[in-house]
Symmetry: C2
Subunit: 479 residues, 2 copies
Amino acid sequence: MAQKVTPRSQDFSRWYTDVVQYAELADYSPVRGSMVIRPYGYALWEHMQRALDDMFRATGHQNAYFPLFIPLSFIEKEAEHVEGFSPELAIVTHGGGKKLEDPLVVRPTSETIINAMFAKWIKSYRDLPLLINQWANVVRWEMRTRLFLRTTEFLWQEGHTAHETEQEARDEARLMLDVYAKFAEEWAATPVVKGIKTDAEKFAGAVESYSIEAMMGDLKALQAGTSHYLGQNFAKAFDTQFLDRNNELQYPYQTSWGVSTRLVGMTVLVHGDDQGLILPPRLAPHQVVVVPIISSEETADQVMDAGWSVTSALHDAGIRVTMDDRDGVRPGFKFNEWEMKGVPLRVEVGPRDLAEGNVTLARRDLGREGKQSVALEQVATVATDLLEEIQQALFDRAATFMADNTFYPATYGELVEGIESGGGFFYAGWCGSAACEAKVKDDTQATIRCLPFDQPDDPGPCIVCEQPGAHQAVFAKAY
Amino acid sequence: MAQKVTPRSQDFSRWYTDVVQYAELADYSPVRGSMVIRPYGYALWEHMQRALDDMFRATGHQNAYFPLFIPLSFIEKEAEHVEGFSPELAIVTHGGGKKLEDPLVVRPTSETIINAMFAKWIKSYRDLPLLINQWANVVRWEMRTRLFLRTTEFLWQEGHTAHETEQEARDEARLMLDVYAKFAEEWAATPVVKGIKTDAEKFAGAVESYSIEAMMGDLKALQAGTSHYLGQNFAKAFDTQFLDRNNELQYPYQTSWGVSTRLVGMTVLVHGDDQGLILPPRLAPHQVVVVPIISSEETADQVMDAGWSVTSALHDAGIRVTMDDRDGVRPGFKFNEWEMKGVPLRVEVGPRDLAEGNVTLARRDLGREGKQSVALEQVATVATDLLEEIQQALFDRAATFMADNTFYPATYGELVEGIESGGGFFYAGWCGSAACEAKVKDDTQATIRCLPFDQPDDPGPCIVCEQPGAHQAVFAKAY
């Protein structure tokens, strides 16, 4: 894969699909709207899963598995839910050679089927809180798809919890948003804005939706994770009730929250450059690649031996390392390929360096200035430190980028011009009316990404109608 | 869950579903044929996945993910494949509110969609072998379902590989069957018979199918894993071709292989007893449960402290341990509950033992004779050893059971009577004709489970027609 990607500056959208394909993260499939996640992309997803799963367990959640098929009648039980999801449903009408009496929906999300089970399992306050997570595939029929970012089928996790009190459920929804933010920042090296969704953007069936919003390399926003406070909406629809501490029947308060393979796309969009992917070390399938430089037959054995010994030292230091020992492939070609795949650190093992007891380390996130000569016996220590440095450097770079492209327009004209002239995140007062929100969308395609939790004392006047603002909102175009 | 399960001797089938439900492994769902895997059952599956996944990686395979939906036309490309799977398909006819021009099948297995991608990726012998595995849900419409053993949707892994030569592919199919046998024996403590499926029982589209067959507690056989040598059947159907070392176009030789959540059911059926589940330590979500015995207020703190310190020592020794610190639940109730859940080892921490510096260890697989008093400071060491002993004891017990119920009938009458009077595995000569195979099935419902790889020099005459035998076959009724 020494193909050159389309430069970001030339066509950001093509650059993205080039990188996803050339780095072998994913490929188009012959099935409309569905993609194939290739081994390298799947390995990245597996590292994401592990980090998230550990955090879910640490906060008391357990994994379980619920059916792929949901009776259509279930989806219809919660009024907003069916309205929101109807246009996106895939429907199974035939099974085992016969037409089904009740058509089945391929799950777009599992609130309904899970509530049908919760209604069976939750009898008493002693059964609460019930804290469940599911890793699964879901299907939402999409007209315009994009690898990882929007596909008809995608992989995700969905948390579903039930609680005795409203406060507990609200706290849970916020806690899980914090988990997502921590993942984005500490693993994916991506700063995020945390906030509340407006009614126009909230989950169909939720009382309140929270999201983390990240800024991509083209200044658009990506909703990277959502957490919903569902109130008693689904509990009432499914008659999920429990005997409380006073022996009275109550509906539990619920949450749901999810992140998906979209996070893979986010990682590409935030860190990648014209050489391809740049992966944060904590998520990289290979954190270090060792490339032997064979320049003559005489030194070949020595170089290969040194390469294996460096690989082994790095492996023993707990680093995910691979040695590219392919015959008949030139080092320059290998460099390009591993740069395309975004491996954070490369170790070049060549005869000239070796003569002085050294190897060369090259950071993926820097250019020539990221190269350094390191004594053989120091490689593992230096590499360990460098991987931490790279993780931090990627976060810092993304944070600076977000700060540099965050604006506080004073007038509607400034907002519109800002969005149209380049984009970014625009913080401005909003009166809370759907009309003002819709006007911005009509005029600019930008939406309110969220109302940040972190609000100023005075949000200022509404950027649209100039009435007193109820909140400060973040406006941006979004994926 | 202190409910009593139906005794095995009274109704084995009800005993099984009782155990699965009371141990909270799974539950029926409102969706026909689909079950819910509850957290305890899912944790068991996750331990199975980890063990298998490690072995797949160690043998060079990589995980990837392919679409859930497959165009119906793909399934139809391989003649035997479509014939075998047609009656079991779930069909999506509507998506996004519209009728689809080409209906989509919910994957029953992924040979076809994967070959469509292989055809794109495999260009040269340098791209081979291609060794892919997928963890996924699949759907096969079933009329009669049983929790874990036969459900419309189930979770599994499916390996799909492509090779330059027939021999390599045949070796791969055998290698992966060996991996399954190793998993069954060393993790699930279940001895298996490895062999070849007859044409009547082989996978739709395979040249040859191999299976591992295990004996359940009711003497029926369970096909616990299968591996298929596919030859060039799917490669030809999808025109998957590569340039070989002589620069000539060739079809690769392929394999596929899979195990499923059925393995959870197997573990119940092989080891369980009238108190519930018995889990092999290597797969148990909790290997040890610590139960504090509070008999008076004065000693309560001392007992709880000792309980936590034992739990911590076991945890530090790398044991998966949980302490049942629930208030207001009597120890006897806890004992029953953890016995139902099959936790291999229980540590009872009570004031009388503690006064002498001891705790009591109780093995799940033994009765009263499995109890022993152990000095506090020895608990971790003794528990570690005991878990290994239990793992081996479960295997030995299952192996003895299988040996005791394996028969070598000399006449057809003996075969029929043996199957009808109790069951077991019946080794006998078989001429190789479909007619003789079908006669046994008609007369007894037993089928040829496999033709064991391990064949005697002389298989003896066919047990049905008395013509010279071509193979020794294993006849048994099966799940």
